[in-house]
Amino acid sequence: MAQASEKYVLRLADNILILGQRLGEWCGHGPVLEQDIALTNIALDLIGQSRMLYQYAAEIRNDGSTEDDLAMKRDVFDYYNCLLVEQPNGDWGKTIVRQFFFDTYHYYLQEFLVNSSDQRLSEIARKSFKEVAYHAQYSAEWVIRLGDGTEESHQRVQSSVNDLWTFTGELFTPDELDREMQEQGIGPDLDVIAANWNKKVNEILEIATLQIPEETFMQSGGKQGEHGEYLGFILAELQFMQRAYPDMKW
């Protein structure tokens, strides 16, 4: 029976833990109460999903590590999240655009993983997929509302689309591990995910009266553990208790 590599599972988990942590920064700072609650709800879903994946990664590692060890005791270079999710929240529009780019990718990824040849990944995806559909709908609706909103909201959200576009290429550029997982039917063909993503993103940006950025240089490295400066700060906050009081328990 097919089993994903630990590193592949960590990539899936790290993406959503880090994005969940970023969204958590909005707690108490949202523009209105309902949206503050919405973002932290999404964060909770993502962190919950990441726990299921860390539990699985810990089982694959099989050296007594737990989900908490994986989340709390790895440093920047051992984190494999994509660069998109570690980007700062910026204004509301930037958070929404980052979310929309990621959710749309996450939606099509889950759609594949539901039928992954790795049974455990398939079970986790069947649980997550229905939640992710809610996220993807939410962020797409907000992109439309802001893009086709006031002059100010349009301009801000357009500049976020332009700024974040450079981090989207990494999602669809397979490396050796992605290809290996694809060959075993564990992970998707990223070309297919890219085609679906481009179609949906184009459709929503058009409704939102936003311009799709021109071909641009795409950043890469996150999923191999090469990060920008931001991840270190995120981890310093996320892992503070374990760093200050090693092995402390709540």
């Binding site: 909770l44 919950g48 759609e111 986790i124 809610y134």
Partner: protein
């Protein structure tokens, strides 16, 4: 002789910590009960929402309820098949509405679809269908926020997954 019925009766007293009118049975999260010896009981539960913080409390509550009754319980979780709001019992739905939370609709539209209209939900207070969704995400991961356009009361809707 310990029977599954005995165990289920004990578990019917264990409530969802966030919605205390619902028992675990009403929620449909108890997937299996195995009686491996006269005192050893394995209860298998399935999580509702992935990030639901009540799940750890629920597992603890099951353990303590069974321990109080003199058993040595083990609580396991299973992901497959994934929990769906369709498993909530009729009685549970009624209790929810009486409690002021609109129950999830049964057999709702494709739960994995990307876009769709907000479901039409009945106000749990005045029973009007003239309601509107305020936010897809409510006070807990399992709820959306609605308001009634007739009695003007805001209310939670237990959303379908």
């Amino acid at each position: 002789m310990v029977t599954e019925k005995t165990i289920r009766e004990i578990l019917s007293e264990v409530k969802d910590p966030e919605i205390p009118v619902l028992s675990l049975e009403d929620m449909g999260i108890i997937r299996d009960i195995t009686i491996s010896s006269p005192t050893e009981i394995i209860v298998t539960i399935t999580p509702t929402y992935s990030g639901c913080p009540a799940m750890d409390t629920i597992a603890d509550d099951i353990e303590s309820a069974l321990m109080e009754a003199g058993f040595s319980p083990t609580v396991k979780t299973t992901l497959d098949p994934p929990w769906t709001t369709d498993w909530m019992s009729e009685e549970g739905r009624k209790k929810l509405e009486d409690y002021g939370i609109a129950p999830p609709q049964k057999g709702s539209h494709n739960k994995r679809s990307l876009f769709g209209k907000a479901p039409e939900v009945r106000c749990p207070h005045c029973k009007s269908m003239n309601t509107a969704m305020l936010s897809q995400f409510g006070s807990t991961p399992c709820k959306s926020l609605y308001k009634c356009q007739d009695c003007f009361e805001p209310f939670d809707y237990f959303k379908c997954i």
